[in-house]
Symmetry: C2
Subunit: 130 residues, 2 copies
DNA sequence: ACCACCGGTCACTTCAAGGAAACTGGCGTC
DNA sequence: GACGCCAGTTTCCTTGAAGTGACCGGTGGT
């Protein structure tokens, strides 16, 4: 799998989104695995700012929940592949819905936020979906 | 508006859901306002465990983002009504999608989690949608 | 002998969300 | 004069997600 290092546009306000699927990175990982398995280091490329610690934590949680499978090959150098399960793939539709909402309404929300007199942020009304 | 105090079943693992819309309570508030405006104290009924502080914070964030409007009537005792905007109402579809996913797949996820050897939780793979 | 690669782990810190409890203030009532 | 209602505010505290940076162990290359 070749993952585009730019697949998560830094300009795209993924972080400002009022949706969240799983942990902070879960939805992005699901998207990374959409077109087939990937290995640990491959995932780190598009997920530019993730630390290995957080990536393992997230992947472990996803594995525990049956969203991905982890396959370690006894080779050298070591190789580990992560792949979406059917359950994990079922999240794709949801992520799609979130993205649709975002492209239709997020600009609205952001514009309103900027205009608002309550503009200082005591709670960003986060949502998550990259 | 009469809000059913039991509309958020304590048995329903809303808290375990791997989705989240806005702050912790945002989606529930949207649901509470689905059928018309409600006032501060009315919202506190179904949202049993919310503190007034958190409720105001959440409502302010939602108002700032254009999801709800706040209307204060100069009466006695004071009355304040919160109502969904069109933008806020647009979230209903999303919440519906999340609920559909949940009723189709959440049991799966939870079962997997329980079965898993990684069962102790270093990251619940949260999602939010009540 | 040294280095890099892979897929992590470990120890530590920061930061913000969320919760608990008490208080406010104008008005009406008993 | 005390009490209660509504819609909050204020202060304090706990928790846990997330980030930083260092380190590890086996192998293959030069």
């Amino acid at each position: 799998m070749q993952l585009d290092p730019e697949m998560f546009d830094p300009v795209c306000p993924s972080g400002a989104l009022p949706f969240r699927i799983g942990d902070k990175w879960t939805a992005m990982i699901v998207l990374c695995l959409e077109n087939g398995p990937a290995r640990f280091t491959e995932l780190r490329v598009p997920l530019k700012r993730i630390s290995p610690k957080v990536l393992t934590e997230t992947l472990k949680a996803m594995e525990r929940d049956g969203l991905v499978t982890r396959t370690a090959f006894d080779e050298n150098p070591p190789r580990v592949e992560y792949e979406l399960t059917a359950l994990g793939r079922s999240l794709l539709a949801l992520i799609g819905a979130v993205r649709e909402w975002s492209s239709a309404h997020l600009a609205d929300l952001l514009a309103h936020r900027e205009r608002s007199p309550l503009s200082h942020r005591p709670g960003e009304s986060r949502l998550a979906a990259p």
